[in-house]
Symmetry: C2
Subunit: 180 residues, 2 copies
DNA sequence: TAACACTGTGCGTTATAACGCACAACAGTG
DNA sequence: CACTGTTGTGCGTTATAACGCACAGTGTTA
């Protein structure tokens, strides 16, 4: 098996455990998997069965995929990413984050003449932009590109990126963030 | 472990194997997992390790999640669902189906006075509607509901549903289909 | 200071995953 | 018909997952 999968599982287990502030003993209680086994997994010393994986996921109240895919699943994400919606954007949450679908969707309005910078998201996050009206500039991978109404862009959001509206009217667009 | 997970794995394994027309022997070669073990899995007689799961997924050229989540992963889906885009709708593909994200997105226009019926999708398919302009009626779970510009609806698309435009102008909306 | 509780690791034992092999059943060919 | 090849299943053996327990180390309290 790809040693990287063992590592992904180990990293995820350590991260979720840390996020909850659980010791191995507490985690063993919550998941009904032995403390010794959990330690083995975190040290990448064993390949767990699906039964064990299911117990762990259930104990953490997570979908199985959260344990096998790189990066943390942002749970209970009720609002937009803080680094995106400063006091520049106006926004509306169209569909809040749903762990089953792994995505969320916003309607965003970038007023005339404004721009906004965004830090890199977690690894693997993908962003969709669908311009509804106006003109929107996106800075990605070292260059600006312009999208007019009806145009779309999909890009890896695990890098710095920016939005700019150089025109005299609002830019309205949909922003879909996929966490996979 | 939830016996249902054993069943999901068994059903998926059988289905992907059947889709490729592989025998257990051929699958054993492609995945480097023994024929006897594959048979055990299909008969739900064992809980595989993650190492084994990884080998199977790799042999089938699938992501791991395809083996653990109910329903087949629709691969190479380059166009919209045939039962949706008859000669009533005008459409534009915004983002074609991407197996990694598990979704696709369309811009749809339902002309004034038209309606269109859709069969149930595969189990687990979820649909999002975001009305951009005009007024759109959606028939779901036995009743019609109206959405105006800016309004959204998310529903389980594994049931019959319909779209209707009772107004005198086009209804323009985004339609996102999540296959998970 | 000693006692106690908690933490994560290591070890030997038990349970079971994963295997190779044999076999019965079936299909196709000469 | 006999022979060959393919299919999936069952069985015993091997490898390893998963466990309970002991222990060293750490921190807290009386």
């Amino acid at each position: 098996m790809g040693e990287s999968l063992k590592k992904v599982i180990a990293d995820n287990l350590k991260a979720y455990r840390s996020e909850k502030g659980w010791s191995l003993s507490r985690t063993a209680q919550e998941t009904t998997v032995s403390k010794a086994m959990l330690g083995q997994l975190e040290r990448q010393e064993s390949s767990p069965t699906m039964a064990t994986m299911w117990k762990i996921a259930k104990g953490f109240d997570l979908p199985l995929s959260a344990l096998i895919e790189p990066g943390l699943l942002h749970s209970k994400k009720a609002g937009p990413t803080p680094d995106k919606l400063d006091d520049i954007f106006q926004y509306k949450i169209l569909f809040p984050f749903d762990p089953k679908l792994g995505s969320e969707m916003f309607l965003l309005v970038l007023p005339a003449g404004k721009e906004s910078y965004s830090n890199a998201h977690a690894k693997g996050v993908v962003e969709d932009i669908v311009v509804i009206s106006g003109m929107l500039d996106i800075f990605i991978e070292g260059q600006w590109q312009s999208l007019k109404a009806g145009e779309v862009l999909r890009f890896d959001a695990d890098q710095e990126h920016a939005y700019r509206n150089s025109t005299a009217e609002n830019a309205v667009f949909h922003n879909i963030i996929h966490y996979r």
